[in-house]
Amino acid sequence: MSAREIILKRLRERSDGPLQAPQSDFTVVTGRGWSPQERLERFERLITSVHGEVIHTTHAEWTKRLIELLAAKSIRRLALGHEHPVPVAARTALRNQGVELVDVDRDIEDWKREQFETVDAGLTSTGGAIAETGSLWLWPSPDEPRLISLVPPVHIAVLDADAIEDTFFDVIETHGWAGGMPTNALLISGPSKTADIEQTLAYGVHGPRELVVLIRHQREAT
Amino acid sequence: MSVKLYPPKPEKVYFFGTCLIDMFYPQAGLDGIRLLEREGIEVVFPDDQTCCGQAAYTSGYHDEARAVAAAQLDLFPDSWPIIVPSGSCGGMMRTHYPQLFAGTPREAQARDIAERIYELTEFLVHVCHVKFADKGEPQKVAMHTSCSARREMGLAETGPALLAQLGQVELVEQVRAAECCGFGGTFAVRHPEISAAMVEDKTQAIEAAGAEHFVTSDCGCLMNIAGRFEHQKKAVRGEHIASYLWRRTS
């Protein structure tokens, strides 16, 4: 018998007999009923509490804010996609701005050291966010691969204000995640950190030191 | 934070004194009985009681524990509440008797007994609704609630609630009040150094809180903490909460 068969047989023929599976009541992780304003405030409060930065802007203005941000942080080489409307708009706006746009639609094997050592920031879109925990959710794609939110020292994420939902459970249910998961799905809540040296927080231990979220509103925030 | 439903004050109760009290702290048992009698309750003390069996139970000797527990089950034939002046013996009888007798002919009896078990301070607060008038001198006191009373029986509040009624007593707050004193029955014997490190921290916390005296609702903790204070020749002394309450209000 294979190990698989032995293990499964032992589990199936358990000495105390079969077990009855209980039903689950998920109300405690859903039904928050927050207003858009509450969601936004909560998201911002939580993600900034773990060292994330938030910049409020509008759909019309966001690339201007991006240009200012890159200048403020002295970002010279920015990695970003080609196809998603977010990188497309960014590429247009950043033409002739003195920022080198680094293509990410290349196999990592071909530019591992370049990505690890010479890119100042990665720009990505997001699928949305979770108010309860201050988390962004991302489904990396061929256009925006997994590592550009991880390897460069700064991660700039673009989030639409109306894409913030209440809880992680709500996101999974509303978007039918169980119906088909991507290669990689991610929640990101702040920059990379560690407390392994005597409980002292330090950022950027392996991933980005900084996470900046550009929140795009329909209109100018009042 | 108890969500338990309590019965109205009964005319009679049983009293289960516990073996530690029987042998080492009998005054605490008698004081507990007097507190109940002062509430107009007749207290029945079955003479054949010995020990709840907890030490054997927690040591893994369940056959022996069951035999001893079985001898106690027959001592409470009428449906009155059974008052136990100890969270650990109370917890044993309320929680573990049904487990110990599960699947045996005595299962129903063990359940019936378990449902009638009340720890003394629990009964004074929730059933008797006692009102005390303090007659003692001003004193700073620390309370150590035993882990069984606190966690197994969910009675973190009843001891302090009773002390709070004593007008001259200042209940001082210790750091890590919820932490175990290190007694744990045979644990103190099998792992004496770890137990000692725990009781050392407990006595330090009680002293640092400025307590002149400490009380507890469990004689195991009392023996441990008071024994440590005495060994260090410290002035702080302890007693069972029943004795303290009786002494100050009679």
Partner: protein, 483 residues
């Protein structure tokens, strides 16, 4: 402050008493743990303050229970869905078999260098040593694990592996082994480790990680972390091998959010971790990063034995949050290494006897005052004190005999003592007589009662027992009634 140099030491559960003694005598270790645990207890309490914690724990326990009730079916479903997604699934009956599978996977790729994310299961089977023997270098990338590995130690906590070390000690280790400056600057040390490990991520042939939850419904592996080393490990090298215990499976994707909420809050008092990484397949055509191969190694190693018994089964609900150790008064005082086992603290005491046998671990189940702090905080409501009592019962041979090494502590002497006690406690007249005698002989009570009196004054039996006091009290009442 003088910095202690650590002599690499092997800890064993057999030497629990000696190790406890040494830890208790080491003020540095005690201070490190006390400070860390106090902080974690406070953070956990604060982060749960706005939650219906009881309802959430109830749900967590319920999800784990449901997964266990369907365990064989869910494992098959997990396997089928992983394979449909392109993840290859392997089964290992014990740690040795799992090591072999992983080594062979490495060898098939000609791998020389492996980078590891945190995995307690890999510690459980001593994977690093096994790979080293085969000439494959295995480097830990979680900062705490990296420090512990540099110091030739094992983790002292399942979530915070280097919690026994303080800043000065860590500075010394990094200085000694990697040539960094001696410093108290945590950012400097973190940056140094980042630079050192980035080279290794780029060079690694294989990445090995653990799994926090494996979702049967979708064939998804979930990894919880703050540092990003887990994402690196599972994305940069061309091969990713995930290794996990068979009990880590959950049924549905929607079972994950409640468990994740419980895990981060219970473990470190965080409302969420920086990353929640959900992997469902190797790199697909057109994708530009991620491993070409993903493997899942399902390890039994004693778990199916635990699974047989309705009471012991609760052990397998564990989601490895470490809250039980953070709140344990024994762990806080002796630290993680004292246990001499991969999993220390309360969870270790109820889990390791099944893996190593009760003979090797016989001092673990008794090393608890049964204070219940662990069970009170466990996010999936494992009745840890009850399980400790059960293992004590198995040790002395009064249980079901279905734990390896059952009966190992059976001793005629101790049994006789309990039998004697039983006789006395079931013969009330003799009991009353004995309390009278004890009271009469109280002056003879030895001042030294073994270990008890080394730290405490011995109690003396009272002159008169409660039985006698009550009798006198009755007579007094009756007298009053008459007069």
């Amino acid at each position: 402050m003088s910095v202690q140099h650590f002599i690499p030491q092997t800890y064993t559960p057999q030497a629990f008493h000696r190790q406890a003694h040494e830890a208790l005598d080491d003020p540095q270790i005690r201070a490190n743990f006390r400070r860390a645990m106090d902080g974690l207890i406070t953070k956990r309490r604060d982060v749960f303050s706005d939650w219906d914690l009881e309802a959430l724990r109830e749900l967590g326990a319920n999800i784990r229970l449901r997964a266990l009730a369907k365990l064989p079916d869910l494992l098959e479903q997990l396997e089928a869905n992983c394979q449909a997604n392109g993840i290859r699934v392997h089964w290992a009956e014990n740690g040795e078999a799992a090591c072999r599978i992983i080594r062979e996977l490495c060898e098939a790729r000609g791998a020389k260098s492996v980078i590891k994310g945190k995995s307690m299961v890999s510690e459980e089977m001593h994977l690093n040593a096994h790979l080293e023997e085969a000439g494959i270098e295995a480097l830990e990338s979680d900062l705490g694990e990296y420090l512990v590995q540099l110091n030739e130690q094992t983790p002292s906590h399942i979530i915070m592996p280097a919690i026994h070390l303080n800043t000065d000690e860590i500075s010394e280790i990094l200085h000694d082994k990697t040539g960094t400056e001696r410093t108290r600057d945590v950012d400097y040390m973190t940056a140094a480790a980042r630079a050192q490990l980035r080279e290794r991520f780029m060079a690694a042939d294989v990445g090995i990680s653990g799994v926090n939850f494996a979702v049967a419904e979708t064939g998804t592996l979930c990894l919880v972390e703050n540092e990003g080393n887990g994402r690196m490990t599972t994305t940069v090298p061309p091969v990713h091998i995930a290794v996990t215990g068979i009990e880590k499976v959950v049924e549905h994707l929607r079972d994950v959010p409640p468990l994740y909420a419980l895990l981060t809050r219970s473990a470190t008092g965080q409302h969420v971790t920086t990353y929640f990484n959900m992997i469902s397949s190797p790199r697909k055509p057109g994708e530009h990063d991620g491993p070409e191969e993903v493997h899942l190694v399902l390890v039994d190693n004693g778990r199916s034995g635990i699974y047989q018994d309705n009471e012991l089964l609760d052990t397998l609900r564990c989601i490895r949050c470490g809250a039980c150790m953070n709140h344990c008064p024994v762990y806080t005082r002796v630290g993680g290494h004292t246990y001499g086992t991969t999993y220390p603290g309360p969870i270790g005491k109820i889990l390791m006897p099944h893996m190593l046998g009760l003979e090797a671990t016989k001092d673990l189940p008794t090393a608890s005052s049964l204070c219940g702090a662990c069970g009170e905080v466990c996010p999936v409501k494992i009745p840890i004190p009850d399980l400790l009592v059960r293992l004590r019962k198995e040790s002395v041979g009064e249980g079901r005999g279905n734990v390896p090494g059952a009966g190992v502590k059976r001793s005629r002497k101790e049994l006789l003592a309990w039998k004697g006690w039983q006789w006395l406690a079931t013969h009330p007249a003799a009991w009353r007589g004995s309390t009278v005698i004890a009271g009469k002989l109280r002056a003879l009570t030895p001042a030294k009662l073994g270990p008890w009196t080394e730290y405490r004054t011995a109690p003396k039996p009272a002159k008169v027992s409660l039985h006698a006091l009550v009798k006198a009290h009755r007579e007094e009442l009756a007298g009053e009634g008459r007069s």
